[in-house]
């Protein structure tokens, strides 16, 4: 279906064709212009009828206009007659309840226009782009819009997770099931290995920094700044996939432009929403019960070398009534101890209104979203004030102020084997119990301590461990605009981001297994962290806008500046005197660890933009940006230099031809056809604040404190360059009832950041350089269909799918491997980056003789060789040396999906609206770390029920190896045993809305009732809680299930009241 044919040549050819076409068009126009002059304008009329596309009856009161020339409205039968300047004029048609459309006359004198209702996606809707709003039909860029419209039906979504399945090319992977944690967004694959792959987020014309600076002290927690935004505040989201060069070195990954709530009318409107919902605990992973586990454990202990009398004397192996009988003879479902169904609540109030001087939108919200892991939640208090002022006819202003405060109760997640409650609940021996039990079986309310197998008590982690996070952000801007003349205006915007994150952790000594630091055994653990971000932002521009004849020209010249200061300070303490002393100063002085990070960086971006539109048929956009950044190395030779300041130059050009507005398309079945092409240079400045500089780090040597060089400076270090190419076609059939859109694209990264290995004599292992390159190409498809179009029953399907293929062009040495969660990933020239790289397996040796005949051996840590035996995994000896080692590794999986996308259904039936959304991911491989842990059969941890299939004696044919203490033969090594198909198809969202009929003129203007379900169904072969997770935004962490909080099913009911 998709083949790799996106070559620059073809693109160039296409661009030339486009230019030729536009020249031809201009010629034709000249002829027409000549004919204008021959006939007086007032003799040209067009007449027609406007009908409702669903009822097929005439539509009354529809406004029809030629911009700046004439206008009329339709009569009760839908008929109209309008004076036009020429028979290639563009008619703008809009009416209340209907979508707006532009109709090109294309030489016709009579028209029949069928209008769809406004819920049908229109190719003529306006889309917010970096320099303002454009009609979608006029935009040469590859941009997609998501009309959130307040998301009244989805109050618990996070802005990043909400986009999942809505935008072709945007793969939004929810990080985990923790409330508010959001999603890692990859727009069109990835462009970088070590720099960011996040698209730029711009909210109300100001760059929104959504990095989590500095690691959380709560294991694997991600503080998501986008959780500070209430989705109900969002009006619309535009996703700009190409031509993002206007953002210079911040545009490498495209841009997401969010517009928040604004007053749409001057009348005061009050909307109030109240919601509540239930999150359902996930289904248990099938771990062994107490009796199966005990058999497994005794096998494991025998393999450890314990004698039968030693094993018999263990309290949990002794079935006589010892004092420990009741505390060691239970069948505890540990997963039930840590997961629970939880309740959410959400209230939201929005007031909009104003007068002809000022309009405003004020919103306030409260949300408490509990997680399915007990004692985890997110509480949010948010306010937003957006206003628009008309100081005078020419002088206008805007204010966008928001303040949000979040409080989160969390638990450790992922690889934190002593404190992650999920992991503990899976590996904890089921014969223990969560409370102290005396010799008579009386259960005490006291939590049991870590057990005899040194596994923490998950209930203690839930009940006593504290891990909370409080963060707030002020994000506000004032903008002013002055109309200097009819065609020229000047605008400026000042904004501030002030952000603070406080985290506190306390892990008790009772109930949690001890840990070690180099100089102590640690029992209780305490920590506090503060992270700050302060950023000022300015965007000042001069705009020129003119239209003459068929020419429309719009140009901007401007400058952006961003100054940032980030700071992180943490303190970790250990071993407070009692579990009642929970704050960090109570830790033992000798063991205290303090640290932090300070980052300051500035960015300046000078930009020029010009959009030209000829006859509403040809559209050309030109952008260029010139960036300076404190991060760039002073001696960089890339870009240009102004004075001694290196500047990145990022031009782009985009063009579109609206073929369907051409005369020859007048009688075509194709109602809409647009061809687009763009070529843009963008950059990525996420190269580290100080990587180009010489830095020193403090170091202790035998009690003496000093400074040592912390790396080799690279003054030539500069931004990564990404050349983005896009060609696209937008198609509409049958009066736009079927809309198709396809984009082929290619992103080529050069000067990509890589770690260049260094000679030993330098004293350093590596240095960061711009020596890499990578290419990603792909295809984005979108389809909108109105399947049913009756007056009372309408069904719209909006589906999208995208695919990409990544290829590393050059990295130092041709290849390197990375490690994460016990997995090894290979990145090498000519292949996809980040491929799972491990051993291949061919089942399990059923007898010792079979193993012996294979002749395979493994090198032990002491250098001796040990032969594989019956019950060991038969690894493939790829290099034929009869030795199973790293040299036998091969590519065993690719975490990149072959297709991702979503299918949205909207069915409106009378006053009901059903939104049914499916999302899917196909063809991605997943490394199931959690299953690897739960089937490793190497220790006393509880395992999955599948381990009952383990090899027990010679002759047994099975796919599960034997249980051996410490797994000396590496049966659980990273291999294709743990690689699974991560494809899934999910009923992501089912939303029913009912618009209650209300008497007009009443106090209540409208009333809507909502019922929704999320993640209701997931079809997958994946053997884990859920196939969707993203441990970390890094490319090298994708597709690895580290046991984060799983996605869960939830349902929600709510009501929206309009006053």
């Amino acid at each position: 279906m998709y083949s790799a044919t996106f070559q620059i040549k073809k693109l160039t050819a296409f661009a030339l064709l486009l230019c030729a076409g536009s020249l031809l068009g201009q010629k034709a126009d000249k002829v027409q212009t000549a004919s204008y002059k021959k006939q007086p304008n007032d003799t040209l009329y067009v007449s027609g009828v406007v009908t409702d596309a669903s009822s097929k009856t005439g539509a009354q009161g529809i406004r029809i206009a030629v911009k700046g020339f004439s206008a009329t409205i339709t009569d009760p039968t839908g008929n109209f007659k309008l004076r036009v300047p020429a028979y290639d004029a563009l008619l703008q048609v809009d009416g209340e309840g209907y979508q707006s459309v532009n109709v090109s006359l294309k030489g016709r004198k009579t028209l029949a226009i069928a209008l769809h209702d406004e819920s049908h996606p229109s190719v003529y809707e306006s889309i917010v782009l970096p320099y303002g709003t454009k009609l979608k039909s006029d935009a040469p860029e590859a941009a997609t819009q998501f009309q959130a419209d307040g998301s009244w039906g989805n109050p618990y979504e996070m802005p990043d997770a909400q986009l999942q399945g809505h935008v072709a090319g945007l793969n939004s992977i929810r990080r985990s099931g923790s409330p508010g944690v959001g999603a890692n967004m990859f727009l069109r694959g990835y462009t970088s290995l070590y720099a960011t792959n996040k698209p730029l987020v711009v909210i109300d014309n100001m760059v929104y920094d959504y990095n989590d600076y500095g690691e959380s002290i709560i294991a694997n927690n991600y503080t998501n700044p986008l959780a500070l935004i209430d989705v109900k505040d969002i009006d619309q989201v535009s996703v700009l996939k190409d031509a993002s060069s206007m953002y210079g070195t911040k545009g490498a990954n495209g841009a997401i432009i969010i517009t928040t709530a604004r007053a749409k009318q001057q009348a005061t409107k009050i909307d109030f929403g109240a919601y509540t919902g239930v999150n359902f605990a996930p289904q248990n992973l099938p771990v062994m019960n107490a009796s199966d586990y005990r058999v497994y454990l005794s096998e494991m202990l025998q393999s450890k070398g314990m004698s039968s009398s030693d094993i018999a004397s263990l309290p949990y192996m002794n079935d006589s009534k010892t004092p420990y009988y009741y505390s060691t003879h239970n069948n505890t479902d540990w997963q039930k101890k840590i997961f629970e169904n939880s309740v959410n609540s959400n209230y939201y109030l929005k007031v909009t209104g104003g007068d002809n001087i000022a309009t405003y939108a004020l919103s306030m919200g409260y949300m408490k979203n509990s997680g399915v892991v007990k004692a985890t939640d997110l509480t949010r208090y948010n306010t937003r004030f957006n206003a628009q002022f008309n100081f005078s006819q020419r002088f206008t202003g805007t204010a966008n102020l928001s303040f949000t405060y979040n409080e989160q109760n969390l638990k450790d997640q992922g690889i934190a084997n002593n404190t992650n409650p999920i992991y503990l609940s899976l590996v904890k021996a089921p014969f223990f119990t969560d409370r102290d039990v005396n010799e008579n079986g009386t259960v005490s309310p006291n939590l049991a301590d870590a057990d005899a197998l040194n596994v923490s008590n998950p209930a203690a982690v839930i009940d006593v461990m504290q891990a909370y996070n409080k963060y707030y952000r002020f994000f506000g801007s004032f903008g002013f605009k002055y109309e200097i003349s009819k065609h020229v205006n000047a605008a400026t915007l000042f904004g501030i981001t002030y952000d603070k994150v406080r985290e506190n952790v306390f892990i008790p000594r009772k109930g949690v297994a001890n840990d070690t630091v180099p100089n102590a055994v640690i029992d209780s653990r305490l920590g506090a962290q503060v992270k700050r971000l302060f950023s000022i932002y300015n965007d000042t521009r001069l705009n020129y806008n003119n239209a003459w004849g068929k020419h429309h020209f719009n140009a901007n010249l401007g400058m952006r500046y961003q100054g940032n200061q980030a700071e992180q300070d943490f303190a970790l303490g250990f071993n407070s005197a009692t579990d009642e002393l929970v704050s960090v100063q109570n830790g033992v002085n000798l063991l205290r660890q303090v640290g932090g990070d300070i980052g300051e960086w500035n960015w300046m971006n000078v930009y020029v933009n010009a959009d030209y539109n000829f006859g509403n048929r040809f559209f050309i956009g030109f952008n260029t940006a010139m960036d300076a950044s404190s991060r760039f190395g002073e001696q960089t030779t890339s870009g240009i230099k102004i004075g001694s300041v290196p500047m990145a130059v990022m031009p782009s050009v985009s063009a579109a031809w609206l073929v369907s507005s051409e005369k020859f398309m007048a009688n075509s079945r194709i109602s809409y056809l647009k061809l687009r092409a763009s070529y843009s240079f963008t950059g990525n400045d996420d190269i580290g604040n100080y990587s180009s500089k010489q830095t020193y780090a403090s170091q202790n040597l035998l009690g003496l404190q000093g400074l040592v060089r912390s790396g080799i400076s690279n003054p030539y270090l500069h931004w990564e360059k990404v050349a983005r190419q896009n060609i696209g076609v937008d198609l509409g059939f049958w009066n736009d009832r079927v809309q198709l859109s396809a984009d082929g694209w290619q992103n080529k990264t050069t000067n990509m950041l890589v770690y260049q290995p260094l000679e030993t004599v330098t004293g350093f292992k590596q240095v960061i350089t711009n020596d890499g390159s990578m290419n990603t190409k792909g295809l984005d498809l979108m389809l909108n269909v109105r399947v049913l179009n009756h007056r009372n029953l309408k069904w719209d399907i909006s589906a999208n799918a995208s695919t990409y293929k990544n290829e590393v062009l050059s990295v130092p040495g041709g290849s390197f491997t990375t490690n994460f969660a016990g997995a090894t990933m290979l990145t090498r020239n000519g292949d996809v980056a980040n491929l799972f790289y491990g051993l291949k397996t061919e089942g399990v040796f059923s007898t010792d003789a079979e193993a012996t005949s294979s002749g395979l051996q493994k090198k032990m840590p002491d250098g001796s060789l040990r032969a594989f035996a019956g019950g060991d995994v038969h690894f493939t000896d790829l290099n034929g040396d009869k030795l199973i080692d790293d040299k036998d590794r091969t590519v065993i999986g690719n975490p990149n999906p072959s297709w991702t996308g979503g299918i949205n259904n909207r069915i409106s039936w009378k006053r009901f609206t059903f939104d049914v959304m499916f999302t899917f991911t196909k063809g991605n491989d997943v490394y199931n770390y959690l299953r690897q842990q739960l089937e490793s059969e190497s220790g006393t941890q509880n395992q999955l029920q599948s381990v009952a299939n383990r090899w027990r004696a010679n002759g047994q044919v099975t796919s599960t190896p034997k249980a051996t203490w410490g797994d000396p033969m590496g049966n659980a090594a990273f291999s294709d045993r743990w690689i699974e198909d991560g494809s899934y198809f999910r009923l992501r969202e089912l939303n029913v809305a009912y618009n209650v009929p209300i008497k007009k003129q009443g106090f209540i203007k409208d009333l809507n009732i909502y019922a929704s379900g999320y993640n209701l169904l997931t079809f997958t072969k994946y053997l884990g809680y859920d196939p969707e997770f993203s441990a970390n935004p890094s490319v090298f962490a994708q597709g690895i299930d580290t046991g984060l909080n799983p996605q869960f099913i939830s349902i929600m009911g709510g009501v929206k009241l309009g006053l």
Binding site: D292, S298, E299, S308, G870, Q945, N949, R952, A953, N954
Partner: protein
Amino acid sequence: MSMNKILLAVALGVSLGIASCKKDWDAHNQVTDAGASKNLLEHVKANTSLSKFADLLTKTGYDTVIASSKNYTVFAPTNDALATLDPAVANDTAKLRKFVGNHIALLRYFTYASPDTLRIAMLSGKYNNMYGKKVETAAITTADEFASNGALQVIDKMLPVLSNCWEVVESSADFPVKQRDFLISLNYDGFDSSKAVQIGVDPVTGKPVYKPGSGYVASNMYWDKVYDMRNESQQYTFFALQDLPYESEKTVFKPYYATGTTDSTDRLSAFCVVKDFAIKGYVPQDKLPDTLVSKFGVKLPVNKAAIVKTIKTSNGIIYVMSGLSVIPKNKFKSIVIEAENYNGYSNDRRSNTYFRDRYNPLTGKNIRDVLVSGHGVAQFNLRYDIAEMPTLKYKAYWVAVNDFQTTTHTQLLGIGTPTSTVFAYTTVPLASYAEALIGEYTHTKYEPVFNIYLTAANSTTAAANPLVCDYIRLEPVL
């Protein structure tokens, strides 16, 4: 479509979805092997040739044990093998339980994994030896049948419950009376504080006060000094002399234990005889060599023709012998005293005492000796305690290496007292690693503890009065 129908459809969808999600797990967790899905009891019951053993399991309550969630190995005798079960065992519940328990072991044992003898603890408290496809004398006819909770080995003979070596000593009619009487006479009551009941703390000493009579455990000197032959986990080969040869053997050793009383001489010589009769390890009669070496390094000449009776025990074997004489020369070894391991000194001169590591070029071995020099005490001495010194004539040797100064010095080996005149002061030559003969000495009376001394010259001059010695050796002259 009505709301009801929609809900129905959703409900159907949800249940289908859950069913389909579950299926993958079910397939993954499916136990593929029939053997691994049944427990041991089910395996035993499924085998018709084990029906008698299955009945015995039910009778003794072991059926629930081998169906429980621990790993066991069941050595199940076939019906044919059980046909000869002694009715005395079959009709005695306690004996029968012990008998059945003697066929079940905790943990799993497979024949392919036991090329060497495995000594397996059975639930009866006894042990059985498994070697390849044999357990004790029984052959494993159907080997390594695995169950969800262990392994089943079908055997062609029963595994009877035998007495252990010490039980035989105490109560078997086949064991010679005189040797038994002596061994039992070594019984004493030992005190084990961990078994005592503490009733308080002495306010003066701070030591615990125990309930009178508590904490005493029956013990035996033979267990302490030689081997505790009650231990089921170990195996022993033990020799017993018939009464007459036993008495004559004692007579041979009486001269070496001259004490004040005949009783004590009798006891000491008896112990001297029997202490070398226990050998660790099981040596079956067909593998008996002509000489065995005891724990104390004494060579036992074993004449197979002198074996009167063989008693197989649960932890080894006992041979009743009509003769087993050890010649005194083999019985009494040289007494070697490492000089650096002294038991006392006349003056505290730890700052003048050096423990030196040297290489002895004559023996090719590394040695450690003691040097006390510059101590400034006339006739400074180090004391050594020798335990249980028999009445014998000894030749005394030492190795003393004077490599710390350029002049020779003298030192004395004091027998009994530091200034004993049994030996004269002996000159220590320069840098000699050779064993030097000091002289001969006859010990006339058995001593439980006997002291000898290394005494420095009667001088306070540092060059004249150093003490140096690697070891002292007293070689019996027999």
